[in-house]
């Protein structure tokens, strides 16, 4: 189901956790709320769920105004970071809980509940563990039970709060791929919160980058990575370098030297240059380039990460080179960014 968040504000005491946030979530999409801690992403998720009530603003589920409804009435599925399973219930009882507590007029027959719970347990690949208690399962298995439990009620929207946050790296990776598969098969509109950008970029159809209670950018993983629209997003997603430059006659200058990058149409004045470590061209000579002395060279898998001391700047610049380039500390390297953005403060 389509979910629309309109001008939502949420204050905790005098501190605004969310400030005039609007977001359209399309039906059937898998969308990630990404941001550092304190950015308001979990608050937004809990507001959609109805676990918090907004100070101001409205939330629509389809055409229904959901903000007046209680958590119970919204019919959502929520998965918590620490699973929040009912520990005195077996796996199957946990999964069936949402159906069993329905008023008798809407409750399926006991046999149907059982069937549905069993199907879901198979879907999350836990067949054979129906009679286990949560304490007898591993973390990854518990989180899968939690997901099955949330899906059992046929939720309007599935909300996941850092679903893989408590798991170790190997399991995280596996569950990530698996969640994508489940989503593609079931087609639930899904919103998940994460502070792990790899998770968001790899898993989501669209990513919402949040900071300090506001939405910074919404877009596909490619858009977010390739065309960040703010210094925050540029700095938060992936690796980036910044240099204080000057624009003069459509050319970029670092101190008194041109760096060989033209910025046609840019008004003159100081600006901040952002570029990613791998978006550079290595140059032999230097007639209009950035040049620096290698201070540190690290081999990381198939590439070489090189830290440079750039003349005219105290900032540490890191670039990525092919691993066969010998960049011994003390040598000079000249390069020019081939993809970059300018931001002005």
């Amino acid at each position: 189901m389509e979910v629309r968040v309109q001008d939502i504000r949420k204050d905790f005491g005098r501190f605004p956790a969310l400030d005039k946030v609007s977001l359209d979530i399309r039906s059937g999409e898998l969308i990630a709320l990404l941001g550092p801690s304190g950015s308001g992403k979990t608050t937004l998720l809990r507001l959609i769920a109805g676990l918090e009530s907004p100070t101001d603003g409205t939330i629509f589920f389809g055409d229904d105004d959901a903000s007046k409804k209680t958590v119970q009435e919204r019919n959502i599925g929520f998965v918590f970071q620490h699973y929040a399973l009912f520990r005195h219930m077996t796996v199957i009882d946990n999964v069936a809980f949402g159906l069993k507590v329905r008023p008798s007029s809407r409750r399926p027959a006991a046999a149907d509940i059982r069937k549905r719970a069993e199907d879901l347990i198979d879907l999350v690949q836990l067949g054979g563990l129906e009679k286990r208690y949560p304490a007898q399962l591993s973390g990854g298995q518990r989180q899968r039970v939690a997901l099955a439990r949330a899906m059992a009620v046929e939720p309007n929207v599935l909300l996941l709060d850092e679903p893989f946050g408590a798991l170790d790296a190997q399991v995280r990776k596996e569950l990530r791929r698996w969640l994508r598969e489940i989503h593609d098969r079931t087609g639930h509109t899904t919103v998940f919160v994460t502070h792990d950008q790899d998770e968001a970029l790899e898993l989501a159809d669209r990513v919402v980058v949040m900071s300090k209670g506001r939405i910074e950018q919404v877009g596909t993983p490619d858009e977010i990575y390739d065309t960040p629209n703010s210094p925050f997003v540029f700095g938060f997603i992936g690796q980036s370098n910044t240099l204080p430059v000057r624009v003069e006659n459509g050319q970029l200058w670092l101190e008194d030297r041109s760096i060989g990058v033209s910025a046609p149409g840019e008004p003159a004045g100081p600006a901040e240059l952002y570029f990613r470590p791998h978006d550079i061209d290595l140059l032999d000579g230097c007639g209009g380039c950035l040049a620096g002395v290698v201070t540190l060279s690290r081999r990381v898998a198939g590439t070489r990460h090189v830290e440079l001391d750039i003349a005219g700047s105290t900032r540490r610049i890191e670039i990525e080179l092919p691993s066969d380039v010998a960049a011994t500390p003390g040598t000079r390297i000249a390069f020019r960014p081939n993809r970059w953005r300018l931001f002005r403060s």
Binding site: L51, Q72, H82, A84, L85, H88, V101, A150, A152, V153
Partner: protein
Amino acid sequence: MTISLPQRWQFRQPSVIPGFGLALGVTLSWLILIILIPLSGLAWRSSTLGWSTFWTLATDQRTLNALKISFGTAFLAALANVVFGVLLAWVLVRYRFFGRRVIDAMVDLPFALPTAVAGIALTTLYAPNGWIGSLLTPLGIKVAFTPLGIVFALIFVGLPFVVRTVQPIMEEIDREVEEAAATLGATRFQTVSRVLLPGLAPAVLTGFALAFARGVGEYGSVIFIAGNLPYVSEIAPLLIVIRLEEFNYPAATAIAAVMLMISFVMLLVINSIQAWSRRRYGYGA
């Protein structure tokens, strides 16, 4: 060449935590000194009675009635304590209100107060001419000097046991578990009755067992309020004292031995139910 050592059962597994021998030694000696020697003395005394004498003494009608009253009132009091103790713990854990600390401290008073003082206070209140007793008498309810009075006294002394065992477990309950139940459509009542309370069952059972055990052994507070009518409101511990004062040691020993056996079996059963549910629910996991 390696020498293969025969795999033998070892009393103690090799461990980096030192002091096993010393700790176990002290523990065992202490248990023997404090619990085992007095109790085996009791068992030994009753075994010298001979089976038929023991049986006659143990099945004496007055003894049977006293045992019934002791275990029956202790059971009822423990049940009442479970209901109100859980409620009290809930209020103390869940709500923040003015005077919470004071109420929290008050819960422990029955631990500290001399039980005789409690008994006298309760008797004064519930006697037909007392504050509460005078209100109940017109309704035809007699509390003091009846088995009901014994139940009241035992509720008083047993309350802290339930509250203090349930409270820490309740504090551990994750808010998220309640939120999870709510997102799944459970009403508040369903959340409490199907999620929160069942999770507390092992702790409640412990509290029940402790309150019950305390009730069975209670003497001081009960003898004031019970009226101590033989066959009606006379508890087993009192009957033991009466027999001792009559220098009827065999009878006293027999009652004591029966109490000991019943208590031990009941506690053993409760403890195993508890261990089983704890294993299932994975406490501490």
